[in-house]
């Protein structure tokens, strides 16, 4: 039998940093539940080792939602096993982690379509559906 096939994972005690982050998450989650106030924790500014990060990720687990965004490199977003606690990982051009945060909120802002883009999309789809009117109004604008 190979070691990997044994369905038991041996883990050591959580480090101080991991515990501190978990406590902060608990507090932020309480605020979200009671007052609807969102919060976030910047993981990059903390002295997290790879082991700490893995431990924290394992501890929070993965929930029902995950998404990948292609915006100036990849961004991975997933809801942890605690609803309202989201892990956001931004990667740079070469795939390395450029920024990472835990957002405690209903929906991370990243997943919502920005208002300006929605307005632009509305104008674009309108132009596509009524090409003649648009080109006529553009011509008029040119002559004003």
């Amino acid at each position: 039998m190979k070691l990997e096939s044994i369905p038991v994972q041996v883990t050591g005690p959580a480090s101080g940093v991991t515990n501190a982050i978990l406590m902060e998450i608990a507090e932020l989650l309480q605020q979200l539940a009671e007052k609807g106030v969102s919060g976030a924790i910047n993981l990059r500014s903390l002295p997290l080792s790879e082991e700490d990060r893995t431990r924290l990720e394992d501890r929070l687990g993965h929930g029902e939602v995950s998404a990948q965004l292609d915006v100036a490199g990849t961004t991975e977003v997933w809801e942890t096993s605690y609803p309202g606690v989201w892990w956001i990982r931004h990667r740079g051009g070469d795939g390395r982690i450029a920024a990472e945060e835990i957002a405690v909120t209903h929906v991370p802002e990243f997943l919502m379509s920005p208002k300006e883009d929605i307005c632009a999309a509305a104008a674009r789809i309108n132009a596509e559906m009524h090409p003649t009117e648009t080109s006529a109004s553009e011509e008029e604008a040119l002559h004003v």
């Binding site: 910047n42 915006v71 802002e109 300006e116």
Partner: protein, 352 residues
Amino acid sequence: MSDSKTLGELLARRGVSRRVFLKYASYTASLMALPPAMTTAMAQGLANARRQSVIWLSFQECTGCTESFTRSFSPTLEDLIFNFISLDYHHTLQAASGYAAEEARLAAMEENKGKYIVVVDGSVALKDDGIYSTIAGISNLQMLEETVADAFAVISVGTCAAFGGLPFANPNPTGAVPISEIVTDKPLINISGCPPIPEAMTGTISYVLSFGVIPELDHLGRPLAFFGETIHDRCYRRPFYERGMFAKSFDDQGARKGWCLFELGCKGPITYNACATQKWNGGVSFPIQSGHGCLGCSEPGFWDKGGLYKPLSAGIGTAGQYIAGAAAAGAAIGAASAALARHRKNKAMKEG
């Protein structure tokens, strides 16, 4: 040249969504340890900003700062800064040369009066009317004074511009001075290092662009976000220092085991910079991780501190001779020499 459209409008024309600002703001906020709550405000600030006109002046320097600024970026998130600024003048990067280049500088100054940022790398030669470094027939001093007259702010990148650097080192044959000696009536930010960490340069510019103000600075004019802690504070070898486990040579057992490099001349305890956290080459490593002590390149007078491989406990500069003598006599000097080092650094800046 600067565009009348906002950055949001400019990028939208290229099919880039507003999310890119949110991502860039997250990245910058993370670099500068800003509260995550500021991310949205920063993204909004960036999207509504106009392309920032930047005039980059290179004086007595080696172009290492430009290399750092341009070479370390991978082609997506980190190079967005080049969409946010309009680099209107830069000897090494601009296509124009001769009169056309100088006309571009003057045109940018005229068009963006009071709004452009001047980035300077290199020190300014003052001896013999500055004849040791001239561009387009005028001295560096003339060009600097002329260019900063209508600038919004000045950023000295690299230790040569911030503190004089290598040209300033003894015996300073060209009479080199840092930019702070000349520019006294404009907001001035020093981003020291030889070269500076690229993220410190781009992060600072992005901050100015987003919020319209300069970030909080230390007593040497450096952004606290990048220069708030010493290399030693955040060094992964620090536990060995605390336990007194030091490498005695570059090939002994201690060096192989990754022990502290303090006794091999590491200047980490008196050097404020972000190398230990930001690292270099896309986060691959930094000098100490590669087995060499910190040279202290982001501090004033680092070249004249009395030997790159002399431990700090042996003292630095002239005073070091006396400290070394005291050490030979059996005095306990560790803490005292660190305090003296800090005192001398401050004194050096005042005298500089």
